[in-house]
Symmetry: none
Subunit: 418 residues, 2 copies
């Protein structure tokens, strides 16, 4: 089977000049690799015809699939569509369903539809429109010299919508892709080097057609196994057996096996299945934990709310934390964080309460309690306890790590019941 | 003066295949643009000789400066240095000062120095070494066909160290750079198209040496003016006069002029200067508003806390929202959101209370109150009111937009006082 090669191109001065971070090309090349298409080059060019034509002519000689993002806005510096027409030898026409969609988009928001917004519905005559439900710039699918050229809006959630709902399935039906089996193993609260050391022997014994990738982010390391071959049954069995062996090595750190599991989602599923409700009391994380929990659609089934007690006054008046304990032990202490967990559970009338109090930084650290010190509390009907963590110096990282470690503490308790 | 053009190239499979996000090229091109060097293309290729040689041969024909990152590690898949030698027609030699540095690096950390680590000190014979104080892979400065080729390690903090301490000053002394003046204008709650339409005449009258860029993100559009020229005084005056004219057109939407202003930061500064305290009551945003506010270091001076009343029970029991109003008007209503703002202010004893209640989606919408309907409430000692917004269909976006619009509502009130 022939390997399919792709190039991913971003168009726009704002990425080229470093004004915004490009996350689109990472997402696109990752999704392509999941269906067996190999990205061989990524390029960024500015909003000018010469450079766009230049990169297109080069890419069309190397790749089978070219995915462009950006330059589809209504302003005059967005010239992707006009340039595509020049490259393909065609012209722009109005795509009526998109025009109707753009109009209703503005109507719904009670905003005036301007003359320039009509241009959102203009597409190269030879293209097939990839209808964009979540924005006004349509995606476009074009064939040129038997190569596939796909143009997508640069707004990340619009690009993602089109990739998931239009592009990937269409690519799969156009291109002979090998059988690929992916297995993701999501781990939490174990560092990348320590993880690598722990599974070293297992990793060294992986067969040649099964690749392992480490995908680290804050507090989380995803391990991705990718197996390629002909005999699907054999490959799946092989991978699942490898995962079983891996589980034995790092079981306490694994929280999921689905491709895009999030720990807040896994926690939510446990709470639903155990018919339990949750409340949180946060100090240094300032709502970040709650915002992770409520990012999951349907969380109202188990999450009742939170008290963000940023000041000691609120800890005392709203959460009924003992004033003397606050004064003698400090807000970042086992005693206080246990009271926060217990009291928020009782006050909000839930089965479980989780609390966080710590020093996110950059200021507020002492020799005894340096920046990065965080206490996490847990309380249910039977049990109230707390655990201390020491993270690093960066405020943003400390807030995120504390929230992820708190979710992991909750998950461990939920797993004990199941 | 001749414009200097640069290309930025990342080398490494992990970026090409989408396993990690590339933030290096954004940083490099931004730093280059600040000294007047224009990036004309960014490329990513994998760890293989053919593709690295290919991208180098293309880039050398277009750019005056080529900056490469990545592929300098000691493992066998890191082949940047060998490939550079092939491209430049030279060979590798050991750079003694770097070898000494690498040895002491390992000694300090108590780690064994392996044979393979000696390779860290090997550099192309014709290069000038850019000494890397913070890591083991040296930077390299090479001249080829009167073009400058710079190779840097891919680890972001090592790359940044070398850019700041070696590369930028060396570039400035090698290249005649023009005077460049940047001005950022941050706007909120005005869509990109409507903004473009509003300032159309102003934009069309910009002189040729002053460029405008639109940098949109959720709820926010940044406008960046970049002026290039010889006479710095004249240029600064010119840009500032243009900004004054712009302010007259879109004044209510502007919240800042610094390069990296955030609205939550601007709100914080107003609260500090007016010596006011803030509390929030959130429903559908689930802590996202509070997490924006608390992402700003020093927010404890004005932010006391929040009640996240995700369930009606918490709205009634903790926030004292009237039960009858909740039943007759619904949680997403003017009456309820005003009570939330007023009550959280009184309960947490602050000067200002902000509340949000809405339907983030994907479920929970009705014909009367579709998904995306959000009420934001405001309350201070003199005044309590609410405003309704209708956003879109995406849960994540609705949560973020509601929070940003709430911050903007607060900012408008704070501005009235100043």
């Amino acid at each position: 089977m022939k390997q399919t090669f792709a190039e991913v191109i971003t168009i726009g001065d704002e990425i080229l000049f470093g004004q915004i971070t490009d996350t689109n090309t990472q997402y696109i090349s990752e999704q392509l690799s999941l269906i067996g298409i190999k990205t061989i080059r990524k390029s960024s060019v500015g909003d000018n015809e010469k450079d766009i034509l230049g990169v297109l002519s080069e890419a069309i000689n190397r790749a089978d699939v070219i995915i462009l993002t950006g330059g589809l806005g209504p302003t005059k510096d967005d010239i992707t569509k006009l340039t595509l027409c020049k490259f393909l030898g065609t012209d722009l026409i109005i795509h009526e369903p998109t025009l109707v969609h753009v109009r209703s988009f503005f109507e719904k928001r009670g905003k005036p539809m301007l003359e320039i917004n009509n241009q959102q519905a203009a597409v190269p005559r030879i293209c097939e429109v990839l209808f964009n439900d979540v924005g006004t710039a349509p995606g476009m699918w074009m064939i040129y010299n038997e190569k596939i050229i796909i143009s997508l809006p640069g707004v990340p959630y619009e690009m993602k919508f089109l990739m998931q709902n239009r592009v990937l399935s269409k690519l799969k039906s156009h291109i002979e892709t090998p059988f690929i089996y992916h297995k993701m193993i999501h781990t939490v609260a174990i560092g990348e080097s320590f993880l690598a050391e722990t599974i070293k022997d297992w990793e060294n014994n992986l067969p040649k057609h099964i690749k392992l990738a480490y995908l680290p982010s804050l507090g989380i390391v995803k391990l991705r196994l990718t197996a390629i071959g002909e005999d699907s049954k054999k490959i799946i069995t092989e991978v699942e057996q490898l995962v079983e062996k891996l589980e034995k090595l790092i079981h306490p750190h694994i929280f999921g096996f689905d491709l895009d599991n999030k720990i807040e989602e896994v926690v939510g599923k446990f709470l639903v299945s155990q018919n339990k409700t949750l409340a949180t009391a946060e100090s240094c994380t300032g709502g970040y934990l709650a915002s992770l929990i409520t990012s999951i659609s349907g969380c109202s089934a188990y999450f009742k709310g939170s008290v963000l007690a940023y000041s000691n006054e609120v800890k005392i008046n709203v959460l009924d934390v003992n004033k003397l304990d606050l004064e003698t032990e400090g807000a970042v202490s086992e005693k206080v964080v246990k009271q926060m967990a217990l009291n928020v559970r009782q006050k909000l009338n839930t089965n479980i309460g989780i609390s966080i109090s710590g020093i996110a930084g950059p200021s507020g650290g002492t020799v005894e309690k340096p920046v990065g010190t965080v206490w996490v509390g847990y309380s249910d009907e039977k049990n109230t306890f707390a655990q201390k963590f020491i993270f690093g110096n960066l405020r943003e990282n400390n807030i995120k790590l504390a929230s992820i470690y708190a979710l992991n503490m909750l998950l461990k308790e939920l797993k004990k019941v199941s």
